[in-house]
């Protein structure tokens, strides 16, 4: 990158930093535009820890085989987290010693206003209309801000891939959703501990279950408001969500709201310069990438246009030539006819 370009970008960044409030307004608007977003309701009181959802996720997403088979339930004895090769896992918790364990499925919660998306400066993450937070590896620069930003510690990085590492997380089976199918885990669950539907319908269902079974559930739908709300909703048996390793103190403010205000100015702090510069470098790199592809597109478009023009001209010329030929023939024929007529006249006369 040329020094001049860099300084120009720096100036542009300064302008962006000054207009944090605009970013906030825009992000809120995005969510209001998703009244029909889908989601999944997970009912921990129904989960039996059979790991069928894990197996289904592995299968439908073509993920590598795990070290231990999915029907080996001894893996539940250790607390696990999602990684680049596992989009979802089930963990076992024992909230009351002596009472049966409770299981919790962990995957991307598909926030209504995703922290990963708000932290990503290349917009590799987007909230889709299906409710899924989808990831575009083509634009990702691998900065892993998303991993830092996620309040649920979900995105995982392909550290073992040196050249094309991606950030991996549950996709809510977006491709399947677009085909009208259920997410793999939901379809596989033998107990309907997972229900897919519109988020607002799921909320009704969740509260109906809580109200219809007094004393069984914690009177709270996790994800209804956490971090501004998530598409993945959880209800759990008493005593608490904390007993299932869930953070009950996340607050109801969404990540974009948290970061687009005062925090948006943070890169101005001296300590953050390397990060900012790396980011800027990445942006410029991406811009170059885009410019390159635009250039290529323009060239091919120009070529296409030129050849089209040439062809048009040729056919026009041909048409013209044809018309001219026709006319010439007509003229010749006329001449011949006239001559013949004259000759005939002369003959008759003769």
């Amino acid at each position: 990158m040329k020094r001049r370009h860099f300084l120009g970008l720096l100036g542009a960044a300064g302008v962006t930093l000054g207009s944090g409030a605009t970013a906030k307004a825009a992000s809120l608007g995005d969510v209001k535009g998703l009244p029909n977003a889908g989601g999944v309701l997970f009912d921990a009181s129904r989960c039996i820890g059979c790991r069928k959802c894990e197996a289904a996720c592995n299968q439908v997403n073509d993920l590598p085989k795990p070290a231990k088979a999915f029907d080996d339930l001894t893996v539940l004895d250790a607390t696990r987290r999602t990684d680049a090769k596992t989009y979802t896992i089930v963990n076992k918790y024992v909230p009351d010693a002596g009472k049966p364990p409770v299981f919790r499925k962990i995957q991307c919660n598909h926030c209504m206003e995703p922290a990963c998306a708000s932290a990503c400066f290349v917009a590799a993450f987007k909230k889709s209309e299906t409710g899924a937070v989808v990831y575009d590896p083509d634009v990702c620069v691998g900065c892993r801000y998303c991993m830092v930003a996620c309040p649920f510690n979900i995105p995982a990085y392909e550290y073992d891939k040196a050249f094309t590492p991606r950030v991996m997380k549950c996709t809510m089976c977006q491709p399947r959703l677009l085909e009208g199918k259920l997410p793999g885990c939901v379809e596989a669950c033998p107990k309907e501990a997972l229900v897919f539907g519109k988020r607002r319908e799921l909320l009704n269902l969740a509260w109906d279950r809580i109200g219809g079974n007094p004393g069984r559930y914690v009177e709270h739908v996790y994800g209804e408001r956490e971090m501004g709300g998530t598409s993945w909703l959880t209800i759990a048996p008493k005593p608490s969500f904390a007993a299932l390793g869930m953070d009950e103190n996340l607050g109801t403010t969404s990540a974009p709201e948290l970061t687009s205000g005062a925090l948006a100015a943070v890169p101005a702090v001296a300590g953050i310069w390397p990060v900012l510069l790396t980011g800027l470098y990445a942006i410029s790199k991406r811009k170059e990438k885009i410019a390159e592809s635009e250039k290529q597109a323009a060239v091919s478009a120009a070529i296409a246009k030129a050849s089209a023009d040439a062809e048009a001209k040729l056919s026009e010329e041909l048409a013209k030539a044809e018309v001219a030929n026709k006319r010439r023939i007509e003229v010749e024929v006329k001449k011949a006819l006239e001559a013949a007529a004259k000759a005939g006249e002369e003959g008759e006369d003769a």
């Binding site: 039996i48 199918k181 259920l182 379809e187 669950c189 107990k191 309907e192 229900v195 897919f196 319908e201």
Partner: protein, 585 residues
């Protein structure tokens, strides 16, 4: 022992014994608590957090181990002669204060803090100087203020059940006023509490007067009514100690924390009760209560009845009082605030202040309250043998078709008798007639749960409509029905409420018409899951929820429950092949 003189005499006796250095109470107490108890699980943890009243605590609360200190003091023959008096001061009447070094008067926060710091640390220091094993002596705060003490509480509330009551009554059999030894009443004439003279005058449970906190009643002496905790510790422990100290050849009750509140000790008490109380002994606590009653509003309220016409509400409920007494451990199980009739003053049809504005309807039907009929029955439904069916069902009063289970309509003649009874307010005069009517109305109730003849119950049911990865599941249908019936064969409650033959079928065949041939599950539960959220599960989940839910609620998952030879365990929820074999590829 409720009169002041007697109480003082006993306390003085206790102190005198300690002075002599007998300390005979302590070995007695230890003998009761001689169970092998883990030191990490204790019933004697007193959390010292009195400073909370003065603002935010700067240090974690102190987990004080009461029994450990009592035992340690018991060994100090010469060093500590005051025993309880070492830590507990007595007021001018000789009544011991339960608070540590407390005069019973409010003090400032600083004073309170110093009280603990000076006395605890100096005592530990003195003992250390005398070469004794003792607690923290230094000024390192966390020696006592440990946020993560390595002990956990297994404290259990003590319930004086019917057997324990019987044992206490037996020891007082020959006393002048046998009930008065424990139960006292407030005499307006003398202006103080006096022992209850006759069984009928016993006000009932201590908790009727002694609340959770100490209450102050102006215009009476003594002004204060001690909290239940203070009253129980002041009276029970004192009496146990005095009985032991008097040197009579009678075994006495526990005096340590664990002795009453430790789970193992409570089990020991229950076992001793079983041994000491003769078989077939009449455990009924007699307060002149009837055997049968009609549960009904106390009076015909003008707002709810037209003059000359009977009460327009629900028919009264016939109630077998004696049977329910046998099924409850204490009177407080139902009569939570007083022994009188529920509807007499507190729970009127419209609700009044005395009853916290809880209406008669609410008092009987509130599922959340264990004292209500529906609430107590809902607790009974939590028993493993019942929970399989009842866990997923809505608790309490469902549809109006359920009303007749309790509001028994009876035949025409009985209905007429009930109508004329309801027209009159409930009184002592009507009691006999009501009891007679209740008995007649209850006569038609089932005592045992029955269902269709065994040959009408399909032996097996094959579930295979979804069969894909697995072979169809063969459900041992008749065996399941019979196991369910076995679980409730001794329950009169179950008999009365499973009123029809099809009632027991409804646990699985829910929401379908009660019939010998209920419709197939697939009639309501669709075979394919859709992307629309629905409260009604699809067929796969419907089967799994119903089967696994029941096994889980009954606690039979993975256990061998059948007594037949070679019986297999009930499959665990995650054991797919336990119910349906995997299809061979």
């Amino acid at each position: 022992m409720k009169n002041g003189k007697r109480r003082m005499r006993q306390l003085l006796a206790v102190l005198a014994i300690c002075g002599i250095g007998g300390l005979s109470a302590l070995p007695m107490g230890r003998a009761t608590a001689a169970q092998p108890v883990s030191d990490k699980q204790r019933a004697d943890i007193v959390t010292i957090d009195a400073m909370k009243a003065y603002g935010k605590l700067s240090q974690p609360t102190v987990a004080f181990l009461h029994d450990k200190h009592t035992t340690a003091l018991g060994k100090q023959k010469d060093f500590y002669k005051k025993e309880c008096g070492t830590c507990h001061l007595s007021d001018k009447d000789g009544v011991m204060q339960l608070g540590y070094m407390s005069q019973g008067k409010p003090v400032s926060g600083e004073k309170l803090r110093d009280n603990y710091h000076n006395n605890c640390i100096s005592c530990h220091k003195d003992m250390a100087a005398a070469g004794q094993k003792t607690g923290p002596t230094d000024v390192q705060c966390k020696g006592c203020h440990n946020a993560t003490p390595d002990v956990a509480s297994n404290w259990q509330p003590l319930v004086v059940d019917k057997r324990l009551h019987y044992r206490h009554a037996a020891t007082q059999e020959k006393a002048d006023n046998k009930c008065g030894a424990c139960h006292h009443i407030f005499s307006e004439k003398t202006g103080k509490t006096v022992p209850a003279p006759k069984p009928e005058e016993v006000p009932g449970s201590c908790s009727y007067c002694h609340g959770e906190t100490t209450t102050v009643v102006e215009n009476r002496q003594p002004k204060e009514i001690r909290s239940l905790r203070l009253a129980a510790h002041g009276e029970c422990v004192t009496c146990h100690k005095a009985a032991a100290a008097a040197g009579k050849d009678v075994p006495t009750g526990p005096v340590t924390c664990a002795g009453c509140h430790g789970p193992l000790d409570q089990k020991a008490i229950a076992e001793t009760s079983l041994k000491k109380v003769p078989q077939g002994a009449d455990l009924r606590i007699k307060r002149g209560q009837p055997d049968y009653v009609m549960v009904r509003p106390a009076a015909v309220q003008t707002s709810m009845a037209t003059p000359g016409k009977p009460y327009a509400g629900m028919p009264a409920v016939p109630f077998d009082h004696k049977y329910h007494e046998a099924k409850s451990e204490t009177c407080v199980s139902c009569h939570h605030a007083a022994l009188s009739s529920c509807s007499a003053k507190c729970h009127t049809p419209a609700g009044v202040k005395e009853g916290g504005f809880v209406t008669l309807e609410g008092a009987m039907h509130n599922v959340g309250a264990t004292q209500s009929c529906a609430g107590c029955h809902a607790v009974a439904q939590k028993k493993p043998e019942c929970a399989g069916c009842h866990d997923p069902m809505p608790k309490g009063i469902g549809g109006v078709d359920k009303c007749g289970s309790c509001h028994v309509p009876g035949d025409a003649a009985l209905q007429e008798a009930m109508t004329s009874m309801m027209a009159k307010p409930a009184s002592a005069d009507t009691a006999a007639a009501e009891a007679d009517l209740a008995k007649k109305l209850l006569a038609g109730k089932r005592d045992v749960t029955t269902t269709f003849p065994v040959e009408d119950i399909p032996q097996t049911v094959t579930i295979g409509s979804l069969s894909k990865d697995y072979e169809p599941s063969v459900l041992p249908h008749r065996q399941i029905v019979q196991a369910m019936l076995d679980g409730m064969k001794d329950s009169k409650l179950a008999g009365a409420f499973h009123a029809t033959d099809a009632a027991v079928c409804q646990g699985c065949h829910h929401n379908s018409p009660a019939s010998k041939t209920p419709p197939r599950c697939g009639n309501c539960h669709q075979a394919v899951e859709t992307t629309t959220a629905s409260a009604r599960p699809a067929l796969k989940a419907a089967y799994h929820n119903q089967c696994m839910g029941c096994h889980k609620a009954m606690g039979i998952e993975g256990k061998v429950v059948s007594k037949a030879p070679g019986a297999k365990p009930v499959p665990a929820a995650t054991d797919c092949a336990g119910c349906h074999k995997e299809k061979k590829q």
